[in-house]
Every structure is written in structure tokens, then in C-alpha cells.
Amino acid sequence: MAHSDDSPAVQITSLNKWYGAFHVLQEVNLTIPSGSRVVICGPSGSGKSTLIRCLNGLEAYQQGTVTLGTVPLGDNARETALARRQTGMVFQSFNLFPHLTVLSNCTLALRRVLSMPRKEAESLARHFLEKVRIPEQADKYPAQLSGGQQQRVAIARALCMNPRLMLFDEPTSALDPEMVKEVLDVMTGLAHEGMTMICVTHEMGFAREVADQVVFMDQGSIVEQASPMTFFTTPSHPRAQSFLNTLLH
């Protein structure tokens, strides 16, 4: 599944973004090699969701550059669309299309964006539904599924487009505790297959097990970037220390 390529999956350089007067992203620099798993954490309002939403053009930014693979995101709508096509995104609130069955949720973009014939799209969708372990739900509607099942459909829907990079924006924050594991298991499986992943999450167990880099953000800046081992045992920045303390207690 991993696309071999020498260029990093994501290169963020001097990224700055303002909401009006509020400087939400401040001089963010980040390089994410292909095949790596990055967990972004930090207190709410630190800009972590905004950052990953900048990576597929859901948020505009005022300064800096974001390059996905070799394609720079930017004003050029065609390049942005191309870059976006290489990126899958999973949202906190699932954002499945409620009027479509699980199968149609997965096939819509295949058919409309990639012009794939119905049969081929459906068999591909079923393959990924199997992968997230809910093939039997294909003909149901999202409202008939549990939160954990819906989020797994959302992951399958994104995987159908064969992305080079998966973005997860707090994928388990809206889930009941007993459903968190089934979603994290799917994500862990993806990581082991070599998918490049960027996850905004507070699931520190997942970060410890799966991530090869933990990025800690506070007030719009990256204040610490380390391996999970270093981050969890000897965080250097006082804000990271106090953040970890609040999570553990």
C-alpha cells in the first residue's frame, strides 16, 4: 500500500495562519517522511486540528508552504485537487453521508472522481469494508451503525481512494469508551502496513505503540517534537510536561 518515493510525504515550511487577529499557526515547520506515523497532541486550541486541515486544503493559510509529495498546495486549484486526491481524511464526527448506504458512501468518490465503473467500485469498497471488519454492514445506512462502526466506515471510505497519506482529526474523541479500541485497532493495522499517517489524538497509548514521532503543539506552535519514548519519559518542554501530567492524572 505504501507508495515508494524519495521525497517526504509532507513538507511544511514556515506555515502561518491567522483567524482575524488571532495567530492560530505560528511558524510551523514539519517534515514527515513517507511511511512514518506522526501523532500530534496538545491542549485544545493549540492549533493541531487547524494544522492537519491545512494539509488537504480544508483550511486556507496566509504564509508558508505545504508540499505533499512533490505537489505544492496552493492557489492553483488543479494542483490542490491533485494533492487532495492523494490524501484521505477521517473526521472526529465521522461525516458519513447519511442519505447513502455504507457501500455508496465508499463508492461515491470512486465513481464520480475516478470514474470507476459501478461493479469495480463496489468490489473495491467491499474489500476495504472487510479490512475495517464490517463487510456485513455494507447495505445499511450510517444511522443504523454504532459510532465505532461509523468511524470504521469513514476510514474505509478514505482508503478506497488509495491515498498516500491518511489524516486523522481526533478520530476517537466522539466515541463511547468501549468503541475506541475497535477504531484504534484498525488504525494500528494500517500503520503496520506502512501507511503514512498523521493523527491528532489524545490516545497516548496509541501514540506510544504506533507513532514514530510525537509532535506537541501549544498556542499555535510546535514546542516539542520527539520519539514517543523520549516524549513520554523525558519531555523537555515544561508545557509538554504539564500536559502529560494532566493526561495521566
Binding site: R84, F91, Q144
Partner: protein, 219 residues
Amino acid sequence: MQFDVAFALSTVPTILGAIGMTLLVAAVSCVGASAVGFGLEVVRRSGGLGGLFVRFLIDFIRATPVLVWLYCLYFILPFYGIRLGALATGIIGLSLYYSGYLAEVFKAGIDAIPNGQGEAARALGLGRIDMTIFVIAPQMLRNIAAPMGNYFVSILKATPYLAVLAVPEMLGRAFDIASETYRYAEPLTVAGLIFLGLALLISLAIKRLEVRLMGPTTR
């Protein structure tokens, strides 16, 4: 003068004979008003100069009586070389007029869709047109089936305005009978009852549609 039931019944075939015209005008106008109204709303959402113009147009439409529109289309446009038949004028007039109202309904229906739906569509790489057709419009229809049905009933009830253009619809027929016989109560009552029946049928159909559109919402 007493209400004469036998006379009333005798007017039914004549008035009912025009039900086809009434339904034709109403149905085509509903489709036309929905299509134009949706187009207006899409342009209004895209912003820019076009959006501003459409905003003005929608307010303008809603602030003018439908009869004025019909008269203008039928009696004033010919001065500029545009000559439409009475039926076409009536349908175009009702479609344009109600498109302004339906655009407002569509707006409410789209506003009620969570932002995440558009974001998910964009994240999947869907273009604007595909997103509108496959993600936004179906959810919008779900949200607005009831108010949209109300406007369809309004359009049905507005078809008698076409009498001023001499389109032979039901109320026009009723008036013809009245002016020939000098009895107004019976033909107008009959026409009114037929309209009532049609309106109830439309409401029922919309209720059914609403249930179907909602689909399964619980586990």
C-alpha cells in the same frame, strides 16, 4: 337565493373538465420554480456580483404581487418583441414568482446541513458540481420536504390567476358558468372543493415522501 345542490352537481363536469389544465400548469410550474429557485440559491451562495444580483432579485420577486408579473409578461413584453402564449406566460410567471420563495426554502435546507458534509466531500476530492448533486441536494430535500410541499400547494392555488390571461383552468370555468347563470355560490363552491381535494392529496404525497426520504434514522 338558496344554494341549489342539484345545480352545483350539474356544474361539476364542466369545472372538472378543466382539472387537466390546472394540474398541468401547477405541475410544470412546480418543476420550473424548483429548478429556477435552486439555480438562484446556488448562484447566491457562490457570492460575488452574481450573488448580489440574485439576492436583490429574490427580494424583488418576493416583494411584488404575482398578478403584476403575469401582466408584465403578457402585456408589456410584446412591446419589446417577446410574444408568449397565454399558457406559456402563466407557467413562466408562476415559475419565476415562486422560484424566489423556493430559493429561500432551499437556503434554509442547505444551512441545516452540517459543515462536515461539505468538508468530507471536498476531502474525498469531489468537485463542486458533484458535491451539490450527490451530497448537498439530497440532504437538502430531506430537510425541506414539508415547506416545499406547502409552496407546491400555494402554486396549485395560484393557478386561478391565469384566468386574467384567459387560460381555461378550473376557476375560470366556474366564473364562466357564474356569468352565464348569475349563480355564483354553486360553481365557486364546487371549484373550491376540488382545489381542497387536490391540496389534501399533495399534502399526503409530501408526507409520504418525507417518511421515505428520512430513511432509517435509528438503529
